[in-house]
């Protein structure tokens, strides 16, 4: 039985405002870079086994009570680059949390185990033979229990979900309640702005306070600049503590024989590149998948109020298998600001008419299985996310878009707005093919969002073609581990948070034995 104790609310975090020294020298058994899904889980799993753990988070600590439930504000305070992180051509918004708790604070709570066909692909193509549905099952079960992951109950399926479910049933498509990590959902619809009443089981109210209860120290506002090595082994990190106005406050050195990099699929490769380590394969920053999604809004004859109720209720798994297209569709709530970003209904009056009808709008989120064609690198002045939807993936995006349009129409929608840079409105089945087939795979033609960046430091059995092994440890640098979505050798079609939690649990178990 654990003897650790924990406050009922809140988290002990050392922030820039708490630091008076100019130079901090710390030591630990393990230093963890990043406090999101991978970092928080490894921190807890190691701290509870008696390891001295330090967690360093570049973003600020924002207690739940300070969440505003205003999406535009939340983008600026809780997200990477204040919500402005995009690919190089600017047509794909890459949304990641940048606060204590990382993306788990601002995600939609959707939980899937890694699909079996994805794991089989990893086994065959990347030699990850130990990662099977059976061997991973205990890790999935553990995080599902810890995070109160459950099928949405009927009260958690909002009006937009009910409409979509009825439409799917009409089409004969398989539709299921989504699984989410939430306790007693308050039905506020503000998941993407953080859960103010602490019902979402993000890292902020679970693994981080649990890690702290076992002695882990958590620093916010701390940007890790470099992973250090001694005699070829990981030896710690160098970091800078930065005030919220951007002023450097202190330099920090952490000595630790084990270093976990879990800064997310964009920042993790940048840190390794900057540190000039772990890249014998040349694969650091390569094989990046954005897992692009479209938000497809449609106008219904009766009010939907897509901001009311649980953000995400049901999903269509009819097309999940590779033979059927390898994409999923989820019903998705949204508020007015998000709706402005989704479609191009026209300029001036047409746009204001579209927004005046906001309460009649409902949306669908499409997720495809994209190829790992992107790269992440520093161009000397700024980070660069080079990712354009591959031509090979464009038909998949079109199929998902067509299915979403059909589903909306079957659900009773009168107009479906194609999320493109020009005005495209679908009013009948006959409109679908011409509207979608004439789309071109060009920058800035589709309005895509990436909620699940992944790849970029892929795991595999071959040191020549992968960055880390199946236990997350660098092929090149003993003691250096990666434990976030950058591990994933391919995109996984579905929302990846549970995959990251499970892999991080497994990685921590092996680290404890090392």
């Amino acid at each position: 039985m654990s003897m650790a104790s924990m406050p009922a609310s809140g988290l002990a975090v050392i922030q820039a405002s708490d630091i008076s020294e100019k130079n901090l020298s710390l030591s630990a058994d393990v230093v963890v870079v990043g406090s999101g899904a991978g970092g928080a889980v490894t921190a807890y799993e190691l701290a509870r086994r008696g390891k001295k753990v330090i967690v360093l988070e570049a973003g600020p600590y924002v207690p739940s009570q300070q969440f505003t439930e205003r999406f535009a504000d939340s983008l600026e305070t809780l997200y990477q680059d204040h919500g402005g992180q995009t690919n190089a051509s600017g047509d794909l918004l890459v949304l990641q949390g940048a606060c204590v708790g990382g993306s788990t604070v601002v995600n939609g709570c959707v939980c899937f185990r890694t699909p079996d066909f994805i794991l089989k692909d990893w086994q065959q193509r990347f030699g990850l033979t130990d990662l099977t549905s059976d061997t991973l099952a205990p890790y999935f079960e553990r995080v599902e229990k810890n995070l109160s992951i459950h099928d949405n109950a009927e009260y958690e399926i909002a009006r937009h979900g009910q409409l979509i479910r009825a439409g799917a049933n009409k089409l004969g498509w398989s539709v299921k309640p989504l699984r989410r990590n939430i306790r007693q959902c308050g039905l506020t619809g503000h998941c993407l702005s953080g859960c103010k009443s602490e019902r979402k089981q993000s890292m902020l109210v679970t693994y981080l306070p649990w890690a702290a209860a076992h002695g882990a120290r958590i620093y916010a506002d701390t940007r890790v600049e470099r992973v250090t090595t001694e005699q070829g082994r990981a030896s710690g990190v160098q970091a800078t503590v930065v005030a919220h106005d951007g002023t450097p406050v202190a330099s920090m050195t952490v000595k630790a024989s084990q270093v976990v990099v879990a800064a997310g699929a964009v920042q993790t490769p940048l840190l390794l590149q900057k540190s000039q380590i772990a890249n014998r394969s040349g694969q650091v920053g390569k094989n990046f998948a954005c897992h692009p999604s479209l938000y497809v809004p449609a106008r219904y004859p009766e009010p939907v109020h897509a901001w009311r109720g649980a953000l995400l209720g049901v999903y269509i798994d009819e097309f999940l298998s590779p033979e059927k297209g390898a994409f999923v569709i989820e019903d998705g709530g949204s508020g007015p600001v998000e709706m402005t970003m989704a479609a191009e209904p026209g300029t001036g009056k047409p746009f204001m008419d579209y927004m005046a009808n906001a309460k009649y709008l409902a949306g669908l989120v499409t997720l495809i299985h994209d190829h790992n064609v992107g790269t992440i690198h520093w161009d000397g002045e700024q980070k660069k996310i080079d990712y354009q939807l591959a031509d090979a993936d464009f038909p998949s995006m079109q199929r998902a878009l067509k299915a979403a349009a059909r589903l909306h129409l079957a659900s009773g929608a009168e107009e479906v707005y194609v999320p493109s840079s020009d005005r495209r409105v679908i009013r009948s089945e006959a409109d679908i093919d011409p509207m979608v087939d004439s789309l071109e795979n060009l920058p800035q033609h589709l309005r895509m969002v990436s909620y699940h960046p992944q790849g970029s430091c892929r795991m595999g059995s071959d040191p020549d073609t992968s960055v880390v092994n199946d236990k997350g440890e660098s092929h090149d640098v003993p003691g250096l581990y990666v434990a976030d979505a950058s591990l994933l050798p391919t995109s996984i079609v579905v929302n990846p948070q549970v995959t990251v939690y499970a892999l991080a649990t497994r990685i921590a178990e092996h680290m404890a034995k090392a």
Binding site: E69, R70, N146, R199, V205, M341, E344, T347, M355
Partner: protein, 207 residues
């Protein structure tokens, strides 16, 4: 010294439909362009009466021409006459745009500034005046044309629209007209659940 005028540079850019990266590289390398960029954007191709209008004291972080561009976009993109929507001219739309831009990394902000100048000045070729001086219908058609144009045009049209739309719809005064509830947790008196209970681990807790 590059002898090509800024006007011809703009024209060529649009005709050739340069990708963003090439466009920016080209702009930065052009001799005349360098001088203009150093001054915060393209040299103005045609004067506007708005150039003599002051920028409100509470606006910071926008150049003179950027302020007038977004003020014009507010009028063009957010018409509310004859609707129940909240009048946009009573809201701090341009100040909100300035606040959003203040979060941008310096290199991105610099590139956007160049793009905004391009958007404003390129209208001289098609309409004989800058965007800020177009009448409402022409300004809306200009947006639509750019939305179907080259990559750089689609990028800028989308970016300007998104900034303006977000700056309007983030204001709580706009919400009642569409029955948006806004923040609800405190309004509904939802209890704060706090931290999840610490898991009770058995021994080493190995999976």
């Amino acid at each position: 010294m590059n002898s090509v005028s800024p006007a011809r540079q703009v024209s060529r850019t649009l005709q050739q439909g340069f990708g963003r990266r090439r466009f920016l590289k080209w702009t930065l390398m052009g001799g005349a362009g360098v001088a203009a960029v150093a001054a915060g954007g393209f040299a103005l191709l045609r004067r506007s009466a708005l150039d003599d209008q002051p920028v409100p004291a509470d606006i910071s972080g926008l150049s003179h021409s950027e302020y007038h561009l977004f003020a014009r976009c507010q009028q063009v993109l957010l018409p509310t006459e004859g609707t129940e929507l909240h009048p946009s001219d009573s809201l701090p739309v341009v100040a909100n745009v300035a606040a959003i831009l203040s979060f941008m990394a310096a290199p991105v902000r610099k590139q956007l500034g160049m793009g905004l100048s391009l958007f404003d000045n390129a209208a001289v070729f098609s309409h004989g005046c800058r965007f800020v001086d177009l009448d409402d219908d022409s300004a809306r058609r200009y947006f639509d044309q750019w939305g179907q144009g080259a990559v750089i045009q689609r990028t800028l049209a989308t970016a300007i629209k998104q900034l303006t739309y977000t700056a309007y719809w983030r204001e709580p005064a706009t919400w009642p007209a569409v029955e948006f509830d806004g923040p609800v947790t405190d309004k509904w008196g939802l209890a704060y659940l706090g931290n999840a209970p610490l898991p009770q681990e058995d021994g080493e807790g190995r999976v």
